[in-house]
Amino acid sequence: MIIQLIFQIFLIIAIAPLLSGIIKKVKSFFQIRKGPGILQPYHDLLKLIKKDSVVSENASWIFHAAPIISFAAVLAAGLLIPIYITQLPLGFAGDLIAVIYLFALARFFTALASLDAGSSFGGMGGSREMFIAALVEPALMLSIFAVALNVGSTNLGFISQTVAGMGLDAMSPYQILAFVALFIIALAETGRIPVDNPATHLELTMIHEAMILEYSGRQLAIVELGAMIKQLLVFSLLANIFFPWGIASQGAGASALVLALLIFMIKILVIGISMAVVETSTAKWRLFRLPELLSISLMLSFLALVSFIIVKGG
């Protein structure tokens, strides 16, 4: 049990930078550029860790504590989300509501730190982030609840185990509506293009980059790694709630575990590539048009709930 716990943490930390490297590579393929190698995020993180950080004079202890708290919150959420086994090491400690609020905790402290340094860009980024968060959170909850209602439990490990057991029967209208809703939310949660542009520091468009503008050196490395881990976790939420086939169940042998690990990598790769396709084929939306996109997502997850009630006869 302890070994699994440690292994899951190391796995998440180890493959999160690789995922963003691959997404960057795919994006540059579509833009007919060569692009950085897929191992570039590792080099960036190592370089940042070796450097000292410069901190504003006005910054209080919150500025120093926030990266660590957000990183810990995201990592703790990683222990509640099924990655390659359904029997989670900390599955007893919390369900999907805990995961959503661990993400919210991480986001809250990042926004707080962005205000703390007193730069105008930081405050702007923080206010934009909270504006989007207020729209994303209800849609995220509703879409996972639509699946949770079907399964009859809010424990994420149990959900993916049950859905995996159902086979192709799981392909019901509510499942697919909730998937589309969660895909839109994943774009917003990971700061992808219709919502936020992860590649620029242009003051008109940046959200996440504006919040972490004051960080440098080691602290920036922690913040960046936290963002990459969050991206990996949101993708594995998509993969393992809606397409959990191939996930290893309780008491699987070593070979089954290795197979489940491989299947997980492939699923994450497919989702990452489709995110990159969405990102290259759409333009960045104006900030005040975002409520339209997110209200579509909210309404899709609402439709998922309604059609569940209609089909199952509430």
């Binding site: 029967d169 392909m171 019901s172 209208p173 509510y174 697919i176 509506l177 589309v180 409520p291 339209e292 209200s295 579509i296 309404m299 899709l300 609402f302 439709l303 309604v306 059609s307 009630i309 209609i310 089909v311 006869g313």
Partner: protein, 219 residues
């Protein structure tokens, strides 16, 4: 018989996608993407009719499905695009009710129509999805007619209502007699042509197809 058809997974999926395409029409701000979503909706409707025909084994419903495919998902969208191109209208949909409120109103309409259908106890549990989807299509089509300014969107709204009625008819009766269906298709096609000519006239007289302008007197 109808339980067997409408209980099947693929039918539920198609009906859910029809609802999603209706929300795509509600949520888009461009005329072209509205027309494209309408084409997708009609294509899904043709698939529904095709499945009904396949599982009941009635040949005339195949003809209905084929007609839906040709007329509603190819000819009518083409007429729309022709009109948009000919009168050189601005591509944006102008609204009385903004996008996000209208999406939320659409969701409320779906819930209301579900409750309306649930109070009718004569139908089986499984075809209630199709029937409540059809009632919500009719009400959302009506809402689009009320809340959009351009005369083209009023035309689209009435076609969405017609799609809803088609879905309801085919889910209740497993296909009406071919003669009735042919009459309806002819009506819809002629209706679209007449409305198109009417829009040309409105555009000529008022130099805009904004229905707000219809209230002003032209001497």
């Amino acid at each position: 018989m109808s339980e067997v058809i409408f209980g099947s997974k693929i039918m539920q999926l198609l009906i859910a996608f029809i609802l999603v395409s209706t929300f795509m029409i509600l949520g888009s701000t461009r005329l072209y993407s509205c027309v494209r979503s309408f084409g997708i909706q009609s294509f899904l409707l043709a698939c529904v009719a095709g499945i009904v025909a396949y599982s009941t084994g009635k040949n005339d419903i195949f003809i209905v499905a084929l007609l839906t495919l040709i007329i509603k998902s190819a000819v009518i969208p083409y007429i729309f695009i022709y009109i948009i191109r000919e009168i050189k209208v601005k591509r944006e949909v102008e609204l009385y009710v903004n996008i996000s409120p209208s999406i939320i109103i659409g969701g409320i309409l779906v819930v209301i129509s579900y409750y309306l259908i649930r109070s009718i106890s004569i139908i089986s549990e499984l075809s209630s999805l199709a029937l409540s989807a059809s009632v919500s299509l009719v009400s959302i089509g009506l809402f689009i007619m009320i809340s959009r300014k351009k005369a083209l969107m009023q035309m689209l709204g009435i076609l969405i209502m017609e799609n809803g009625l088609f879905l309801g008819a085919i889910s209740l009766t497993n296909g009406m007699p071919l003669l009735v269906e042919l009459g309806i298709f002819f009506d819809v096609l002629i209706g679209v042509l007449i409305m198109g000519i009417l829009i040309f006239r409105i555009n000529k007289t008022f130099e805009s197809i904004d229905t707000d302008m219809l209230k002003t007197l032209i001497g």
